[in-house]
């Protein structure tokens, strides 16, 4: 059951925490929640999506009488409601996302939960959400849609894929920019462990295609603070070599490298009107989203 398989990423506490939020930010969703504000897009329509068997309680307005006449069975017509907001959640599933320390979830687990929560939130607003899973390239893509089935597919997809291969964020963003179609909000969830110039070019491409983007830089606590206390052999993921070193003596230089990278990534995001949010996997997910949305509202 696809529905059951993906539910582990829908933490009720998280959903409850973000339910009351109003996504009113200018750059995030004009018309993110129908009726609250005026959409910039016009003439949207409702498209048929699929049939399903009638169950008591269903609205009889959606009963497909033609299908009843042909098959003598009651079917309910389900529609995909078109909206003027499309969000594409791009989740990095490269090998580097497998990393975790202590009690915290792995970066990938955290990213999947984050993606599922965002997708649920978006669909709850009757907006369209799509999913792109990537490592060196986008290997799984679900176009943005408002249907519940799409959400279930997204959750099932998130659950199926194990981390592997390297990140190629630049190539991926080029691909996402193409596939997203009309203007969308691209939510990139990744550790961004790639050449910073690739990220820069990807962001420029998104911007050129008039997409908005938010980059969630998911990092583990140890990756951010490097609090190792004894001799450690670091086995590189994504094909990097291993290194035996006393981390205490290397900490300062490492933190400088991380800070430089973060600073550079943030700078490129700002240049391309992209929000950059660094997320610690030990932080509560709801708190992170709340903080992000509050910031978006504050900058409207």
């Amino acid at each position: 059951m696809a529905e059951l398989a993906g539910k582990q990423y829908l933490d009720p506490k998280v959903l409850n925490q973000i339910r009351h939020l109003e996504m009113t930010a200018r750059n995030v969703v004009e018309g993110f929640i129908s009726g609250l504000h005026k959409s910039p897009y016009k003439g949207f329509s409702v498209e048929f999506a699929q049939h399903r068997e009638y169950v008591p309680g269903d609205d009889l307005r959606y009963l497909d009488w033609k299908a009843y006449g042909k098959s003598d069975k009651y079917y309910i017509k389900e529609y995909e409601e078109e909206t003027n907001f499309r969000a594409l959640i791009a989740v990095d599933t490269s090998e580097s996302m497998r990393f975790q320390s202590g009690e915290a979830p792995s970066k990938l687990e955290y990213a999947k939960t984050m993606a599922a929560s965002l997708a649920y939130l978006i669909q709850r607003q009757s907006d369209a959400a799509g999913l792109a899973l990537f490592d060196e390239k986008v290997y799984d893509f679900i176009p943005a849609a408002t249907s519940h089935v799409t959400l279930l597919r997204m959750l099932a997809t998130l659950e199926q894929h194990a981390p592997q291969k390297k990140t190629n964020i630049g190539e991926v963003l080029h691909d996402v920019a193409q596939r997203a179609g009309r203007r969308s909000l691209v939510l990139v969830i990744s550790d961004l462990f790639d050449d910073i110039q690739h990220l820069k070019k990807g962001l420029e491409h998104l911007r050129a295609r008039r997409h908005d983007a938010i980059v969630f830089n998911v990092m583990d606590e140890q990756e951010l603070n490097f609090n190792f206390d004894r001799l450690t052999q670091f086995k590189g993921l994504e094909g990097y070599p291993q290194l035996l070193v006393d981390p205490r003596s290397l900490r300062k230089a490492y933190l400088e490298e991380v800070a430089n990278f973060t600073s550079e990534a943030r700078r490129h995001c700002l240049r391309n009107r992209t929000d950059f949010v660094q997320v610690n996997t030990r932080s509560a997910l709801g708190t992170v989203l709340e903080a992000y949305l509050a910031k978006r509202m504050g900058t409207r």
Partner: protein, 822 residues
């Protein structure tokens, strides 16, 4: 444990210690945590930037740890420290060490078992501590491979010459080597047993000679074997003061230690000094007990001179009370308390023995005399009991028979040769006693018998007398000369006065015998003038240390008695023994001279003959050649009394011996008995055979190892074989007084509190660069056997401090480089 093993430790300990941090480092390199790491790009970039610095830090840390561990190891294994120091200083490498690593070890233990080692404190003697250490060292050796030599100070001790006789250096060395040889090159088990059986031997400390003997034993050790030296002593001032810096024997001490180190350097190591003594030792002692009157006659009053001392440093003033006993009877107090501050002596204490104390009681005693045992004791107890009591034996004689051979008998006293002399020698004193009752008290025991020269041939023997005086006797028959030689050789005295009747050529032939006879010098023709109006010359002391002159040398006035009067008119010229005539053990001593010319002409010459002595006077006993008796100042009275005392005190000298001195007693005809026995102070009785010396029967006893009174008993066997006492005689044996000074040697320098240096520092001052190890009973390294610490320079302390510094530096360094960024 052999020196080879120790050398192995010497190299092994630092290497093992140095390898510990390296091994830990290597182990740590295998005990790391493994982490799959995503942000490897950042880590690699950081590593690339800091790699060189990290390697340097790691190296420094490792070096700090190695240094700290090595220094700690060296601090706790000072032998290894010494070895390392030796390698550095001598530039020698590992080859020598490996060469000796398993070599057999010859360990020489110099064990101080002198009297001071009996000092007891906290229920333990210094000697018990010394033996415990010595046994511990021996136990650490390897059975079947290593050997031990024990040099006890009692083996080194050679008693002073007896009765004026001396033992040559060569004889002393032979005696020592014979005794030391009995404990040389022992296997471990035998050495252990001998050490355990060794006791304190009331001898004095002669450490320099002991070390020379130790070096001799080490030097004859095969060169392929290791040699080691351990010196165990209480480091009392009495035995060590002269060896330490500023002492008279410092140079010799250092020389022998240099030689010992050179021997030990062949296989490594340095001599170990172990201090088994107590730092705060305090001791009261009787350091001297003597009697002025060397021959005591029945009914004479006698004074005993006592010297007491307080051997302590910085202690309180001590009250000393003395008691004395005569023949073990009830103790009597001897005067009041004497107060002595630390380090002070008092030699002015006198105990007056009344005539009744020494009186001859039985008929036998009145006939043969008797020996009286005087025991003086300090009442206050202290840690060294042996020197709180001293013994003195006084031989009380009915009288001292003196035979005077009067060469010129005349009714006119001025013309008689010996009338004045006989009168002077038999003089008595009238004094008032406490009851104001006039009583005659003898001041001399002499009983003078005068004969003519013609009567000499009728004398079967002179052994009934203690002294024979020949006064202006022309010549002596050959038989008389022989009898006189036997008499003097047996230990008695002879005075020869010259005069106009003396045939000096016959004297030279019969009595001088080219230095082999009785006469101390060769006689020549008369000097001076026989004219009674001729110039008179003064006497002059030549040998001021001679016992005859001792009463004259006490002060200026007494000296003037001899030097002021012009009394000598005529005398005989003499030649002292020359070349082959000289007997080195019995040299002729000019006691008094006649002050004429650049060199005084001999007036009184003294020389030993056998066990007795002969005094030759180059002028007359009468006023025939001089005006001694007319000088009016009592000079001849005192001079001849002292000379008689000097020549008749042989029994007194032989009755009071030092530890180790042999007791010898010549047997007169009437003394001969079938059985002779000696009873020692502990009451043990042993048979002593009579031996022959120069044709005379003699009793000799060499077992005077303990202080106290010994009794020589002559007995006859009864019909049923039981022993019936014939006569008995006692003699006293006392330890050397200098052993009583057991205050630890501390040098001349004193701090503000009056304290000197400790022994280790003093040894360092004395020996300078000469390597040694110092251990102390109850010290930090107690019981560590040969792994001694170097208290000489406290190297271990410095090493430990350096190690602590390195550990601290390493910790700080470690904290600094791992400090989290804020």
């Amino acid at each position: 444990m052999t020196t080879g093993t120790l050398i192995g430790i010497g190299i092994g300990v630092p290497l093992a210690a140095a390898s510990v941090p390296v091994i830990i480092h290597l182990i740590n390199l295998t005990r790391y945590r493994k982490v799959d790491w995503a942000a490897m790009e950042f880590l690699l970039a950081a590593y690339k930037k800091t790699r060189k610095r990290l390697q340097m830090e790691s190296l420094i840390m490792l070096l700090l740890r190695v240094c700290a561990i090595v220094l700690l190891a060296l601090a706790f294994f000072p032998f290894a420290a010494d070895q390392v120091k030796a390698w550095f200083s001598e530039g020698l490498g590992l080859g020598r060490v490996s060469f000796a690593a398993n070599a057999p070890l010859h360990l020489v233990v110099v064990l101080d078992n002198s009297a001071s080692m009996a000092y007891t404190q906290e229920g333990q003697t210094s000697f018990e501590r010394a033996k415990k250490y010595g046994l511990g060292v021996v136990d650490s050796l390897t059975q079947g491979r290593d050997r031990v030599s024990i040099v006890r100070l009692s083996d080194i001790y050679v008693p002073r010459g007896i009765g004026g006789t001396t033992i040559s250096e060569e004889e002393q060395a032979k005696s020592r080597r014979r005794r030391v040889g009995q404990s040389a090159n022992l296997d471990i088990e035998t050495a252990r047993r001998q050490l355990a059986e060794t006791t304190v031997a009331a001898v004095d400390t002669n450490m320099l000679v002991a070390l020379r003997e130790a070096y001799r034993l080490m030097d004859v050790t095969p060169t392929t074997d290791a040699a080691a030296l351990v010196v165990v002593s209480d480091f009392a001032s009495s035995g060590w003061q002269e060896l330490m810096a500023g002492g008279a024997q410092t140079g010799e001490f250092k020389d022998v230690l240099v030689k010992i180190n050179e021997r030990m350097a062949r296989t490594g190591g340095a001599p170990i000094f172990y201090d088994a003594g107590f730092d705060d030792a305090q001791n009261l002692a009787i350091t001297s007990l003597s009697c002025d009157d060397r021959v005591i006659g029945d009914g004479m009053e006698t004074r005993i001179n006592v010297e007491v001392a307080n051997f302590s440093r910085g202690g309180e003033i001590r009250n000393i009370s003395l008691v004395y006993r005569v023949d073990g009877r009830e103790a009597k107090p001897a005067g009041g308390k004497v107060q002595l501050a630390a380090g002070q002596r008092n030699g002015d204490i006198q105990i007056v023995l009344k005539p009744e104390d020494l009186k001859l009681v039985s008929e036998r005693e009145k006939k043969t005399g008797a020996s009286r045992h005087i025991e003086v004791e300090i009442v206050e107890p202290d840690g060294l009991k042996g020197d709180n009591r001293r013994h003195l034996v006084i031989n009380v004689v009915p009288d001292v028979p003196i035979l005077v051979v009067n060469g010129v008998a005349d009714k006119n006293p001025r013309l008689d040769e010996t009338i004045y002399l006989e009168t002077a020698l038999g003089i008595s004193d009238n004094r008032m006693d406490s009851d104001a009752r006039r009583e005659e008290v003898r001041i001399t025991p002499n009983r003078v018998v005068s004969i003519q020269p013609s009567q000499l041939t009728a004398q079967e023997s002179f052994l009934d007398y203690r002294l024979v005086i020949l006064a202006n006797v022309a010549s002596l028959p050959e038989s008389t000369v022989t009898k006189l030689e036997e008499f003097v050789a047996a230990g008695f005295g002879l005075i020869i006065f010259d005069g106009d009747r003396v045939d000096h050529q016959r004297y030279n032939r019969d009595l001088y015998k080219d230095g082999k006879g009785l006469l101390p010098c060769r006689l020549k023709g008369p000097e001076g003038s026989t004219d009674i109006t001729a110039k008179l010359y003064k006497l002059v002391p030549v040998d001021e240390g001679h016992p005859v002159l001792s009463i004259f040398m006490r002060d200026v006035q007494s000296r003037a008695l001899v030097t002021d009067p012009e009394v000598m008119r005529n005398w005989r010229g003499v030649d002292l023994p020359q070349g082959a005539e000289i007997d080195p053990l019995r040299p002729a001593r000019v006691v008094l001279g006649i002050n004429r010319g650049a060199t005084p002409q001999p007036f009184m010459v003294d020389r030993g003959f056998g066990r007795g002595r002969v005094v030759y006077v180059s002028s007359t006993a009468s006023e025939r050649w001089n005006e001694l008796w007319s000088s009016g100042n009592g000079l001849p009275l005192f001079l001849y009394h002292e000379t008689v005392n000097y020549l008749t005190n042989s029994e007194a000298r032989y009755a009071n011996l030092g530890i180790g001195e042999s007791f010898r007693r010549a047997l007169r005809v009437r003394d001969i008995a079938p059985v002779y026995q000696i009873k020692d102070p502990a009451g043990a009785v042993s048979d002593i055979p009579a031996t022959s010396e120069d044709g005379l029967p003699v009793i000799e006893f060499a077992g005077t190892a303990a202080s106290g009174v010994y009794t020589l008993m002559a007995s006859e066997r009864g019909d049923s074989g039981q022993l019936n006492p014939k006569w008995q005689e006692r003699f006293a044996v006392n330890a050397e007084a200098r052993e009583s000074d057991l205050v630890k040697v501390s040098g001349e320098e004193r701090d503000e509190e009056g304290k000197g240096k400790d022994v280790g520092a003093l040894l360092k001052d004395t020996l300078g660069d000469v390597p040694f190890n110092f251990q102390k009973a109850g010290g930090e390294r107690e019981g560590k056997g040969l792994l001694a610490d170097d208290a000489g320079n406290r190297l271990w302390l410095w090493l430990a401090a350096l190690a602590a510094f390195f550990f601290l530096a390493e910790t700080l360094w470690s904290l600094m480089i791992s400090k989290p960024e804020q």
